[in-house]
């Protein structure tokens, strides 16, 4: 109980600091990783140059997208102790789309809408206990409408 109160107090102090300087406490935006033009480079910049394939990462996304401007991608990591999830679209000009870090209060799950320039593999890299895991899923992007 005491411990919890202390924690809350600390959180309160952090909140105040946060109010004064938003996002000061957060990790800086990883410019290098987001500017990478290949997923291999992006993964290197994220500190996960290699990752082993894992069935513990579940990617739920449509097999075929009617429009590349919005492609819903839902990711769940069932790997115990997952602390981060990165989503990359292999064939985008800059493959890294997003990276989320989770503390104990959150489940390693996220759903986002991503832009995809063309049919591509979506690669998800999860980090757990300092190790990296990955899974991929192909999403077909089609052309609709009159093209004007």
């Amino acid at each position: 109980m005491m411990q919890r109160r202390g924690l809350l107090k600390a959180a309160g102090a952090l909140l105040l600091a946060g109010l004064l300087k938003p996002f000061a406490a957060l990790a800086a935006w990883n410019k290098e990783a987001f500017a990478s033009k290949s997923s291999a480079d992006a993964m290197k910049s994220l500190g996960s140059p290699s990752a082993e394939a894992s069935g513990g990462i579940v990617i739920e996304a449509p097999q075929i997208a009617e429009n590349g401007a919005v492609v819903p991608i839902e990711v769940t990591s069932n790997i115990p102790g997952t602390t981060s999830i990165a989503v990359l679209v292999e064939k985008n000009p800059y493959p890294l789309v997003a990276k989320f870090d989770f503390t104990e209060g959150a489940l390693p799950f996220v759903k986002i809408n991503a832009k995809m320039g063309e049919t591509s593999d979506v690669r998800v890299v999860a980090t757990a206990g300092g190790k990296h895991y990955q899974a991929t899923k192909e999403i077909k992007v089609t052309i609709g409408g009159c093209g004007g």
Partner: protein, 262 residues
């Protein structure tokens, strides 16, 4: 022999067609679940209540056909004849009327940005989302009794089948036959209630290809652009008439918008 071959071809095509119809079902479900469409309803509520114009008035007393300020079910009952304006109006035409009469704004100022983009969303789009959201669950029942309403429907229907322009198109050129597509986009037969209902009952809508909320008048405007025609005037009798024709064809459908579309 040739006939047998043709039959075989038909048999092979049939399952492929069925598959085609459903292949975007997952995509459509997931984009609808993850749609930001509510943001536009929220933004619209703010605008509805915001005093604006020379009269510094909000739109809260705007009569959309059910009485001043009554939003519930109003969109589903449009277009309809308005005695105070002496003409049939659809949602956007009526909103423009309220901006001019209640807020004292000029037509020119109120129509400065009818169709928005990412940086500058349009007031009409936000307001359409907000008003339409209050018709969820209501049955589509546009006006059908006043002579002007009947006249509007007839003009809309005639416009739908009217071929003109550089490419000889009518609305029916693309929306006239069953199970057709432009590229991968399905083309519902909008003159047939069965196909018009699910579609019309989900407009106005967030359109993922533009990533923007879009109104019915925008939809018609962009169709005429792609039909290689000159540009329709906003809130004109012709555009109201087309909306009247589409809404009447879809009548009886339960309104499920504002929707999310390709």
């Amino acid at each position: 022999m040739r006939r047998a071959l043709a039959c075989a071809a038909v048999l092979m095509v049939a399952p492929a067609l069925a598959q085609q119809k459903n292949q975007f079902a997952d995509y459509q479900r997931m984009t609808a679940e993850g749609s930001p469409v509510e943001l536009f309803e929220l933004g619209g509520e703010e605008l509805w209540k915001k005093p604006q114009g020379p009269k510094n008035a909000s739109l809260e007393k705007c009569d959309l056909g059910k009485g001043p300020g009554i939003l519930k079910g109003a969109y589903a009952a449009l277009p309809r004849y308005f005695k105070d304006a002496g003409r049939v109006m659809d949602l956007e035409t009526r909103l423009l009327h309220c901006m001019m009469t209640l807020q004292g704004r000029s037509r020119e100022e109120a129509t400065k940005q009818l169709f928005g983009n990412a940086d500058r969303p349009s007031e009409m789009e936000y307001l359409s989302a907000y008003v339409a959201g209050h018709s969820r669950g209501a049955k589509m029942a546009p006006g059908a009794s006043h002579p002007k309403e009947k006249e509007s429907y007839q003009l809309g229907k005639a416009l739908f089948f009217h071929r003109a322009g550089a490419w000889d198109f009518s609305c029916a050129s693309c929306h006239g036959a069953q199970d057709k597509r432009i590229r991968m986009s399905a083309l519902p037969v909008l003159s047939a209630p069965k196909f018009a209902r699910p579609l019309i009952a989900t407009w106005p809508a967030y359109r993922v290809s533009n990533s923007q909320f879009k109104t019915m008048q925008w939809r018609l405007n962009d169709c005429y652009r792609q039909m290689r025609m000159p540009e329709p005037n906003f809130a004109s009798d012709s555009m109201v008439a087309l909306n009247m024709f589409l809404a009447t064809t879809a009548k009886g459908a339960e309104y499920r918008g504002p929707g999310t579309k390709r």
